[in-house]
Symmetry: C2
Subunit: 302 residues, 2 copies
Amino acid sequence: MSLLVVGSVAFDAIQTPFHEAERVLGGAATYFAVAASFFTPVNLVGVVGDDFTEKDAAIFRGRRIDTRGLERAPGKTFFWAGRYSADFVDRTTLATELNVFANFNPRLPEAYRTTPYIFLANIDPTLQRSVLQQVRRPPKLVALDTMNYWIERTPEELRETLKHVHILMINDSETRQLSSEHNLLRAAAKIFQMGPRTLVIKRGEFGALLVHETSVFAIPGFPLEEVQDPTGAGDCFAGGFMGYLAGVGRVNQQTLRRAMVYGSVMGSFTCERFGPDRLRALTRRKINARARNFSKLTQFKL
Amino acid sequence: MSLLVVGSVAFDAIQTPFHEAERVLGGAATYFAVAASFFTPVNLVGVVGDDFTEKDAAIFRGRRIDTRGLERAPGKTFFWAGRYSADFVDRTTLATELNVFANFNPRLPEAYRTTPYIFLANIDPTLQRSVLQQVRRPPKLVALDTMNYWIERTPEELRETLKHVHILMINDSETRQLSSEHNLLRAAAKIFQMGPRTLVIKRGEFGALLVHETSVFAIPGFPLEEVQDPTGAGDCFAGGFMGYLAGVGRVNQQTLRRAMVYGSVMGSFTCERFGPDRLRALTRRKINARARNFSKLTQFKL
């Protein structure tokens, strides 16, 4: 089944201990869409400026990504600059220039309005809700990402939007902040009162946790020999997760667990090269091979 | 098969957000021995002062723990005082008084000298080596814990001791420090040059990683609803891990993976109550039930 993603398309300036670049294609919706497209057709909604070239757009071509929802606006594309510490543990934001993203008002092309699977990447919760209002048919699954900025600045808007969301996908500290609860299992119980019935907690190199109704599933991070750039790993996780679910078209305990594995696989791949470069060279065969390796990495018999 | 542990027996003063106490039985060898005794007979070597009462020793009684190697020396027992932050993320050491532990010179009773499984808890690497010199028959398996103090202060003694060790069990930061390598897989390859063929990296609430020859196994932490006191969790992990291996008497890929699970289970239990209280009330039946829950928590089929 098809999958809608609404979020940022950006240019990133990235400094890592090994490499730096001034203008790398980035943004949550970019990483998400490319990762998800290995599993299912993707409908992309975002905005770029007039500095966004055909060459930049090439990453979406030859994939099952519909870019009719990628609006072009006069001005510059959203720009983010960041620097990683020597061990990749800390990331410092050096610049954030919203540019055309400041006036982003997501509009779904007619053909997108019955997409059954929806991912609302991290943007203003009011805009996230406006996406759901444009849908013509109750979606099968809505997942949402957010961040500390919205949890602090627009808590009521976020709460209102969460009422319409099945799966919340955030990191540890966002989970704790949103729930005012340090313990992650208790935090999940509080978040379930807000609307979502499923919580996916992304923990970077430490893996991820799925709390779904009364069941908990935990996976470690996939240990990598080579980490070049963690930018976009969380969005690739979300893309693999939602892409897998939309691809199989069933949401249950078993498919959710597999989705966690594919999410983790996609997150691990993108770290191996700079920007989205690893995704460009990826195939479904390599993804499946790593999923099998993930299985070998984690499975045991008592 | 029986299991020898050499390490500290201590009194701890612990402050957590929920509770504090001035004199709680602690020490690596205490936690290790009690955790391991659920799986196999344990021979304990350590030293206590004349303030160590029959009541304190009660934790070892009624278990398969031989305390003939627990020396009594004039003076006070090793004392450690620490405080946890509100979220248990940080631990501050408030006091360390070595007392009788300052002159600890481990002596193995005759009956211990053919113990096939050996765990050298975190003490001076020269003393760890002296334990191995007292053994009459090549041990089946030697595992060792250490810490940043010895990695920094006595690197050559530690290197010499590591030549005689099969399994090194340390945390992330110790792994990085010992190998001068941030990436954990590359760190493992460097550590394998030093002697051990197996590395167990303990990552607290984030689980643990086993690197054994060319194979990697990763487990997440067991998510707990209630964390009262993480003191001794790493030692309980080691106790469950080594206790399980000694209990089955076979070291291979499959038993090592199960040992990781039992280690994680024992580490998780002790966090649920203050000091070693949770261990006192534990049964093998409860341990097995949690291991099955651990399996449910982590298993998936592709």
